[in-house]
Symmetry: C2
Subunit: 255 residues, 2 copies
């Protein structure tokens, strides 16, 4: 089993060497810009799940890259002036601020299409099917986020953040060929992990759960969800030590 | 063999009855708005190809719908203020003019993700793979279109319009299970048909080929490409009478 840092390094190398569609012409520059600099939480989770479930890490790289592309797509479009209007991302200009709004819209589109191209390298359509469902969930979550009042916040987070975390685990299982009937314990874990990520995010940003629960309560809730995540892992019949490390990392992260 | 109008009616019925992802919540309204009112040229071409190549029309409906969703996605995003800034489409407000920019960005995203969900109902990933490549081509063409000067116009059109026309034929062939080795004649036809659509479009809009060739020359060129399209069809070992009707319809269309 490889440690998270080793998995991250392999994914980074794979993403750097990845050939984009030649059809994209100059559009490729903004796509590469959008993909660079991420923490790769979802991709690494996919790789660690795949290896724990019996797959070779190399076989899960296209799925992990597809998840990172979908994540990047969502950030590029969320940052647009018509949505969150963020001119900065990861300490540098966001894609629209760097390349203009038109190119940024197309960059997000290209990221999503490339994500499906990656998810479709597998012989079975199962990986791409799960990615499509997760993407629709994310989009629905973002819709709830911008449509404002009277929104169920738990549902918003389950969709906007949770679907892609669930898909990270789900794609790893599919690459490993785990039968549907044996996926339940893993999937329950993925729901807790998505929630953990969201609560810690809110604590760090001072919004969401940090507002509704208060900062101290939100921190305690994060610790509780981390504990539940570990308990879910313990119930899985596989060596989940690396996934335990990921839980620890997400629980104590400061950025 | 069913006539184009009968194919169009079936596709329209299928699109109306289609269930979107429940995850989309209120976002579904803008998605339905964006899909309604099209001429279904690409979808009908897919259905006619599939039937001519030996498939049942019903089996090709998800692929045809996926093409219409990708086409609608491209229109919704192209119309955005940051791209072509069109407030009107099909004689009514464009999606951003009706629902706002943020919802329009998400509507295009949802259309693309739903298109892949539809293309992934097939057991083989071949349909979705070809759709991903075609989508990347369209996006590259749109990039060339907005990036302005010094662009190869023929390449721009081959990508922006041509890739989805080629995919309409290609998806029909894949649904029918035509082996790669027997697809060449069909694919040569699809390239001519995409060009025909573009030239007639330019004649009707008074731009593109109507400017570079002059209106009369462009009309003559359209007639020549229509003739070439018919010759390509004649070389295919199948009953292509309905596809001949589609060529005739595209050659003389006035809207």
């Amino acid at each position: 089993m490889q440690a998270p840092d080793a998995l991250r390094a392999q994914l980074e190398e794979y993403l750097l060497a990845l050939e984009l569609s030649p059809y994209l012409h100059g559009q490729a520059e903004s796509v590469r810009y959008a993909v660079s600099g991420g923490k790769r939480v979802r991709g690494v989770l996919c790789l660690a799940t795949a290896e724990a479930a019996g797959a070779r890490v190399a076989d899960a790289l296209p799925a992990a890259a597809a998840l990172e592309f979908v994540h990047a797509f969502s950030l590029v479009h969320d940052d647009l002036p018509g949505l969150d209007d963020d001119a900065e991302r990861r300490g540098r200009p966001s894609v629209w601020a760097e390349f203009g709004e038109g190119v940024a819209v197309l960059a997000g589109d290209a990221l999503l299409a490339e994500a499906f191209r990656l998810a479709l390298v597998y012989e079975s359509p199962a990986v791409a099917r799960e990615l499509a469902q997760a993407t629709l969930g994310m989009i629905g979550g973002q819709y709830l986020d911008i449509s404002g009042s009277d929104v169920d916040l738990a549902e918003l987070h389950r969709l906007k953040t949770g679907r892609l975390f669930a898909a990270a685990v789900g794609l790893g299982l599919r690459v490993a060929g785990v039968p549907e009937s044996e996926q339940v314990a893993w999937r329950v874990f993925s729901e807790e992990l998505g929630l953990l990520f969201q609560v810690v995010d809110d604590v760090l940003d001072g919004d969401g759960y940090a507002v509704t629960l208060g900062a101290a309560e939100a921190r305690a809730f994060a610790a509780e969800v981390a504990e539940r995540s570990r308990a879910r892992l313990a119930a899985i019949d596989a060596d989940t030590a690396v996934l335990d490390d990921l839980v620890d990392g997400l629980a104590v992260r400061t950025a």
